[in-house]
C-alpha cells in the first residue's frame, strides 16, 4: 500500500511538471504581454525595455527554470495587468467557482438519480421516453446557448431572476459566500442549472444503464424469488450497487466542472476562476494563466490519485496489479 502511495505521488509530480511545461510552452503562442501592456504611443525603446524587464529576451528554457524555481518557493508572481499577487487573485475567485460547482453537482445528483431510476424501471413509459429525448437536447446544446436562453426567459421576459453576477455576498474570513443572502441564492439558480445540465444527463444515463444491468443480475432474481417487495429490491439492493460508479464519475466530474465553468462564468459574469482565466488570456497575463493551469492540473491530479487509492483500498485485486 505504501509503495503504491509513493509510486502514485511520484507520478503526480511528473504530471504536474508536464502540465507546467506544456502551459509554459503555450504562452509563446498566446502572444506577448508587451503589446497588451503598452500605451498606444509606446516607443520601440519603451517596449524593448519592458520586454527585457520581464525577462522575455532570455532563452525559453532559462525562463522555464526560473518559473519552476519560483513555483517551488511558493511564489506565483504578480499579475501583469493589475499588479496584485496571483495567489491572492485565485484565492479571491475560488469561493465563487466552488459554490457554483457544488450547487451544480448537488442539482445534477438530486435530479439525475431519480430520473435515471425512472427510466430504468419503466423504460417504455411515456415519462421515460420524454426524459430520454430531453436529455439528448441537454447533452447537445452548447453551454452559452443554454445560458442565454435561460437569461432571456427568466431575467428579461419574466423578470424573476438576475441575469448576471453573484448578488450580495457575505464575507466569512477569506471566504465570500452567496449562500446566505436571498439575492445570492437567486443569482445562483441560472448559472448552476446551465453548468449542471450536461452532468445531469450524464448521471441520469449512467444510473439508468447501471440499474438495468444490476436488475438483470442473479442476486436480484433470487431476491425476487424469495418474495421480497419490489421497493426493497429496487431501492435497497439494486440502487446501492448501481450507484457505485456514479460516485466515481461525480468525483471525476467535479474537476471537469471547475475547469469547464469558464463558459458559464463568462455568460453570467460569475466572478470565479474561469472568468479570471479568460480575462488573463485576452490580456496575455502570463502569471495568472500559468497559475490557473497549474491549479487545475493539480486538482485533476489530486482527484485522480484519491480515486486510485480508494479503489486500491476497496478492491484488493488492483493492489496486486500495481
Amino acid at each position: 500500500m505504501l509503495r503504491l502511495l509513493i509510486a502514485r505521488l511520484g507520478q503526480a509530480v511528473l504530471v504536474m511538471l508536464a502540465v507546467s511545461a506544456v502551459s509554459f510552452g503555450m504562452f509563446r503562442f498566446v502572444g506577448d504581454p508587451v503589446s497588451a501592456l503598452s500605451r498606444e504611443n509606446a516607443t520601440v525603446e519603451e517596449k524593448q525595455e519592458l520586454r527585457e524587464a520581464l525577462g522575455l529576451e532570455r532563452p525559453i528554457i532559462v525562463q522555464f527554470g526560473a518559473f519552476i524555481g519560483r513555483i517551488v518557493r511558493g511564489d506565483f508572481g504578480i499579475s501583469y495587468r493589475n499588479q496584485r499577487p496571483v495567489a491572492a487573485l485565485i484565492a479571491e475567485r475560488l469561493p465563487a467557482t466552488l459554490e457554483l460547482v457544488l450547487v451544480a453537482t448537488v442539482l445534477s445528483l438530486v435530479l439525475g438519480i431519480p430520473l435515471g431510476v425512472l427510466c430504468a424501471l419503466k423504460p417504455d413509459g411515456v415519462a421515460a421516453r420524454l426524459v430520454q429525448a430531453v436529455s439528448l437536447i441537454g447533452i447537445s446544446t452548447p453551454t452559452f446557448v443554454t445560458g442565454i436562453v435561460l437569461i432571456l426567459t427568466f431575467a428579461v421576459t419574466l423578470g424573476l431572476l438576475p441575469s448576471f453576477g453573484r448578488g450580495e455576498t457575505v464575507q466569512i474570513g477569506p471566504w465570500s459566500t452567496g449562500l446566505l443572502t436571498v439575492s445570492g441564492l437567486k443569482a445562483l439558480i441560472l448559472p448552476s442549472i446551465t453548468l449542471a445540465l450536461y452532468q445531469l444527463t450524464l448521471i441520469m444515463r449512467l444510473v439508468r444503464s447501471e440499474l438495468i444491468d444490476v436488475l438483470s443480475s442473479d442476486y436480484i432474481r433470487f431476491a425476487r424469488a424469495r418474495g421480497l417487495s419490489a421497493r426493497h429490491i429496487h431501492f435497497t439492493l439494486a440502487l446501492r450497487n448501481a450507484l457505485m460508479p456514479v460516485i466515481t464519475v461525480t468525483g471525476l466530474q467535479i474537476g471537469s466542472l471547475i475547469a469547464f465553468a469558464i463558459v458559464t462564468e463568462t455568460v453570467f459574469q460569475w466572478p470565479g476562476m474561469g472568468l479570471l482565466f479568460i480575462q488573463a488570456v485576452s490580456f496575455s497575463d502570463v502569471p495568472v494563466m500559468a497559475a490557473y493551469l497549474l491549479f487545475v492540473g493539480l486538482l485533476f491530479v489530486l482527484i485522480n490519485t484519491a480515486v486510485d487509492l480508494l479503489y486500491a483500498l476497496v478492491d484488493p485485486r488492483l493492489r496486486v496489479r500495481s
Partner: protein, 522 residues
C-alpha cells in the same frame, strides 16, 4: 410575441427602477473591468476613464473636450523647457488631507519611476519642483507643446497616503512588487470609491466636498463589468442596469425600438485603417519586388475599396468614412485632407496595369477579430474587393493577444490597425508613432518600413513648436503628404454607441470615456 416581451421588459424595468437602490443611482456596465486602481500602473483607456471619477488631474477635458483648469488654476511657460502651474487652494482629498504642491511633486515623481507602467504618458517631463505650497514647476526635455494634453490623463495622488501605505514608489511587474494603490484609491475627484471587487463590481458615492460645482445629480455609481455582449444587453432590458457602454451594434435597432430605452451614438476618435508592408519584398513572395512599394498599386488598392458598402452593410450605417488619418475633433485634422478617393474598380484595375501588374498579385491581409468593431467582417469585405481587381487576397484573423505582437514585429503584408490618439488627443501621435521610421523614440508602431523625409522633418519640428497655429500647419502638411503617398489606407471612424433607460442623460464623448459627473438621472 415581441411586443409582449417588450411590454414585459418595460414593466419589469419600471418596477425595478422604482425599487432601485435609493435616489439617483447609476447602475452601468462595460465589457471590461478596471484593471487596477493604481493610476500609474496601467495604460488602458477604460481604466483611466473610470479612475477619473475618483481622481482629478491638474488639467482636464471639459464638456466639449477642451482643456480646462482642474487642480491647477493657471499655467505659463517661464522658460522654453519649464512650465509653472498655480494650484487650486482649499481642495481636500477624500481622506480629509489638504491638496498642496507636495502631492503634485510626489505624484509626478512616482509616475516617472522606472517601474511605473504609465511612465510613457509623461515621457517629456524630467521632474517636478515645488516653488511654494501652491506653485509647482514642471521641467521638460526641451520645448514641449503637448504638456497640457499629457497632464489631462495624469491623476494626482495624496502624498501622506502614499507614505502611510508604503506606496510612494509604484508597483513593478518586473520585480513582482505590488502596492496598496492597486486596491484602494484616495483622490480629490467628484466621487469616492466605496468598494472594488474585480469582475463583480465597483461602487462609488458622491463626494459632497468636491471643489467644483457639480453639473450632475448622481449620488451613487454601481459599475458592473459584463464581458458577454448578449448578457449585458439582457441586463439592461431586464431593468438591472441603467446604462450600457458600449452597446453592441447588432442590438441597437432592437433596443431603440423599445420605448423604455434609448440609444446614444456618435463617431468616436478611433480611426480604423489598413497598413502596408513597404519593405523590399513581401512576406508572401520572398525574392520578388514588393508591389506595395509602388504608389500606383497603393492608390489602386485604395480606389478598389468600396467604403460606402462597408459603411452600410458591415457597419450598419453607424460608422463615418474618412480619407485622412485623424478624426475631425483632433488637432491636425484638415477638411482638405479628408477627401475620399472615390470607389472605382475600373480605375483601380487601370492603375494596377500602369504599375506593371495587369494580372494582379497575391497578398495576405491580417486582422484582429476581437479588437475593433466588426474587424473581421471588414477585412473579409476588403479582401473580396481587392480580389475583384485581381489582387488575390488571403485573410487571416486572430485574437488581439497574438495579433498585435506580430504587428509590432512587422510580420504582415497588409494589416488592420485602429488609432485614437489617446490620451493626448493630438495628431502628433499619428505622426510620431505611425508615419516616422522607428528610431530615437519615433515610429513606435511603424514596423513595416514606411518613411518619408518630409514627414520626418515636419514631425521633428512640430515636436518642439510652441506656437499652436504653426504647429497645426506642420501637422496638416505632414498628413497631406501621408495621404498623397497612401502611407496607410484610411477606412472609417468607428462609432461609440451606448444604450440607456429613459431618464438617464449622459453626454457622449468621442474618446468614449463615460463621464458621470455630467450625468442627470431621473
Amino acid at each position: 410575441m415581441n411586443r409582449v416581451v417588450t411590454l414585459l421588459a418595460a414593466a419589469s424595468a419600471a418596477v425595478l427602477a422604482a425599487t432601485a437602490a435609493g435616489a439617483n443611482t447609476v447602475r452601468w456596465s462595460a465589457p471590461t473591468d478596471i484593471a487596477t486602481l493604481d493610476p500609474y500602473a496601467q495604460t488602458e483607456s477604460f481604466t483611466t476613464a473610470m479612475l477619473h471619477h475618483v481622481f482629478d488631474p491638474l488639467v482636464r477635458r471639459g464638456r466639449t473636450m477642451q482643456l480646462e483648469p482642474a487642480l491647477a488654476t493657471s499655467w505659463k511657460t517661464i522658460k522654453p523647457d519649464t512650465w509653472r502651474f498655480e494650484l487650486r487652494k482649499g481642495v481636500k482629498f477624500h481622506n480629509g488631507n489638504a491638496f498642496t504642491a507636495d502631492d503634485v511633486v510626489a505624484s509626478v515623481t512616482r509616475l516617472l519611476d522606472p517601474g511605473a507602467r504609465a511612465r510613457g504618458n509623461l515621457s517629456q517631463v524630467i521632474r517636478a519642483e515645488k516653488v511654494d505650497d501652491f506653485t509647482v514647476d514642471l521641467v521638460t526635455k526641451g520645448p514641449y507643446p503637448l504638456l497640457l494634453n499629457d497632464l489631462a490623463g495624469i491623476y494626482i495622488m495624496d502624498k501622506e497616503w502614499m507614505e502611510q501605505t508604503g506606496s510612494l514608489k509604484p508597483g513593478n511587474i518586473a520585480t513582482g512588487v505590488s502596492t496598496a494603490a492597486s486596491t484602494t484609491a484616495i483622490g480629490t475627484g467628484p466621487f469616492k470609491l466605496e468598494s472594488f471587487k474585480p469582475d463583480a463590481g465597483t461602487t462609488m458615492v458622491v463626494n459632497p466636498d468636491w471643489w467644483d460645482k457639480p453639473a450632475h445629480n448622481v449620488t451613487r455609481i454601481e459599475f458592473k463589468p459584463i464581458k458577454s455582449d448578449a448578457t449585458r444587453v439582457a441586463a439592461l432590458l431586464s431593468g438591472e442596469l441603467d446604462l450600457i457602454a458600449p452597446a453592441p451594434l447588432q442590438d441597437l435597432a432592437r433596443i431603440g425600438a423599445n420605448s423604455a430605452f434609448k440609444v446614444i451614438e456618435e463617431p468616436s476618435l478611433r480611426l480604423i485603417f489598413l497598413g502596408f508592408n513597404q519593405r523590399d519584398e513581401l512576406r508572401a513572395a520572398p525574392g520578388q519586388k514588393n508591389p506595395l512599394k509602388e504608389l500606383k498599386v497603393r492608390q489602386a488598392l485604395w480606389q478598389a475599396v468600396d467604403l460606402d458598402a462597408i459603411q452600410k452593410r458591415v457597419m450598419r450605417g453607424k460608422s463615418q468614412n474618412t480619407g485622412t488619418l485623424v478624426a475631425p475633433p483632433v488637432p491636425g485634422y484638415d477638411k482638405a485632407n479628408d477627401v475620399l478617393p472615390g470607389y472605382s474598380a475600373d480605375k483601380a484595375k487601370a492603375l494596377l496595369a500602369e504599375a506593371g501588374y495587369p494580372g494582379g498579385f497575391k497578398l495576405g491581409l491580417n486582422c484582429p477579430n476581437d479588437r475593433y468593431i466588426n474587424d473581421e467582417q471588414i477585412c473579409v469585405a476588403v479582401a473580396a474587393m481587392w480580389s475583384r481587381i485581381g489582387v488575390q487576397t488571403e485573410v487571416k484573423t486572430e485574437s488581439r493577444a497574438t495579433y498585435f505582437p506580430k504587428q509590432d514585429r512587422g510580420e504582415f503584408d497588409a494589416f488592420m490597425l485602429g488609432w485614437a490618439t489617446l490620451p493626448p488627443m493630438d495628431g502628433f501621435s499619428v505622426l510620431s508613432a505611425l508615419l516616422t521610421a522607428p528610431k530615437d523614440g519615433y515610429g513606435g508602431s511603424n514596423a513595416m518600413g514606411y518613411s518619408n523625409p518630409e514627414i520626418e522633418r515636419l514631425t521633428r519640428e512640430a515636436a518642439v513648436e510652441l506656437d499652436e497655429p504653426k504647429r497645426r500647419a506642420m501637422m496638416i502638411e505632414a498628413l497631406k503628404i501621408a495621404r498623397d503617398t497612401v502611407a496607410y489606407l484610411p477606412l472609417h471612424l468607428q462609432p461609440v454607441a451606448w444604450a440607456a433607460r429613459q431618464g438617464v442623460d449622459v453626454p457622449q464623448f468621442p474618446d468614449e470615456y463615460v463621464r458621470l459627473w455630467f450625468a442627470q438621472v431621473k
